[in-house]
């Protein structure tokens, strides 16, 4: 490794170690330092998410290229060429297939662009709202009133995350499906008379030759965010009990 590259690697590792040790120190003795760190980190995360989401949305709507993950009909990888037979590799594929393609495409129509941009917007909105709620709870904790409004905020986040998960799954999967249809539905026609005569046809769909095929429209619900939503709802009940206790002991000497 060249000297500058080694120096960068050493510096990166040193910074990572310092960050990890700092985080462990805060977690080992939770106090005002941890709360303040969480507040600042939340602001940084919100700024980062908003920035990246804005760039992604603008690129989805107006960019020349769009990145999209397309769900494929999981056909086993194969090459279908009449008159040719192919030997399998040292290990034979018995089942399964290629089920996803992450592709960069250009020339998408407005509908998949809009759906993909809306997906990013929903995900960013939900993320920013949850992180803002964490920051609010941290500020309340620093002010000595950790239970003020917290049950209501947590339940709001739970509902938003639940609804948002459904929304971004429908928007994202539909946008990806349409993008896949536009990018992968490839057909062609033959001009070589001898070849078309041999094949007995002049037009071919690329799927016939083993080209990846978009799976039928489907929505894959993200189980983790849905589970977290239920967890937040339960947490709001716990904090509601704490809110009652805080009210009961307010002004207690």
């Amino acid at each position: 490794m060249a000297l500058p590259g080694l120096a960068v690697a050493v510096l990166t590792i040193a910074i990572l170690i310092a960050v990890i040790l700092g985080a462990l120190r805060l977690l080992a003795a939770p106090g005002p330092g941890l709360v303040r760190t969480v507040e600042i980190a939340c602001l940084a995360v919100i700024a980062a998410v908003a920035t990246f989401a804005a760039i992604s949305i603008i690129n989805s709507l107006f960019g020349n290229t769009t990145n999209v993950e397309v769900v494929l009909a999981a056909n086993p990888p194969q090459i279908k060429l009449p008159g040719f037979s192919f030997e399998p590799g040292t290990a034979a594929i018995l089942s399964g297939g290629v089920d996803r393609a992450t592709i960069t495409v250009s020339g998408l129509s407005w509908l998949p662009r809009a759906l993909l941009a809306a997906t990013t917007a929903v995900q960013a909105f939900v993320t920013i709202t949850i992180v803002w709620t964490i920051r609010t709870i941290a500020r309340q904790t620093r002010a000595g009133k950790p239970f003020d409004r917290t049950p209501q905020l947590l339940m709001g986040c739970a509902l938003l995350l639940f609804a948002g998960s459904f929304a971004w799954a429908v928007l994202g999967d539909t946008g990806a499906y349409l993008a896949g249809e536009e990018a992968l539905d490839v057909s062609g026609w033959g001009t070589d008379q001898a070849l078309t005569s041999y094949l007995g046809q002049t037009e071919l769909n690329a799927y016939d030759l083993g080209w990846p095929e978009t799976a039928h429209w489907q929505v894959n619900l993200p189980m983790l965010p849905l589970g977290v939503a239920f967890g937040l709802a339960l947490l709001s009940l716990v904090f509601a009990a704490g809110q009652k206790m805080q009210e009961d002991t307010e002004g207690l000497i």
């Binding site: 002991t249 307010e250 002004g251 207690l252 000497i253």
Partner: protein, 74 residues
């Protein structure tokens, strides 16, 4: 207890401290209750008081509970 009923309890901490020549700061050190909380108690803004706090204040001021807390009528 509704707040307006609790507001009729008057804490005579100011009077008792003056009689004994003690400051609120000194009482805070003796009793182990923060100055802020003693100030809340002194200004009749407290909503509840622990028995342990009551005991410590009465011990420090050498007084009875009835000397410290009185009920205002009307």
């Amino acid at each position: 207890m509704p707040d307006e009923e609790a507001g009729r309890i008057h804490c005579r901490l100011d009077e008792l401290l003056a009689e004994r020549g003690l400051t609120l700061t000194r009482l805070s050190e003796l009793v182990g209750v923060s100055l802020v909380n003693l100030s809340v108690l002194k200004n009749d803004r407290a909503k509840a008081i622990r028995y342990s706090t009551l005991t410590a204040i009465c011990d420090a001021l050498d007084c009875e509970v009835g000397d410290l807390l009185v009920l205002r009528h009307g």
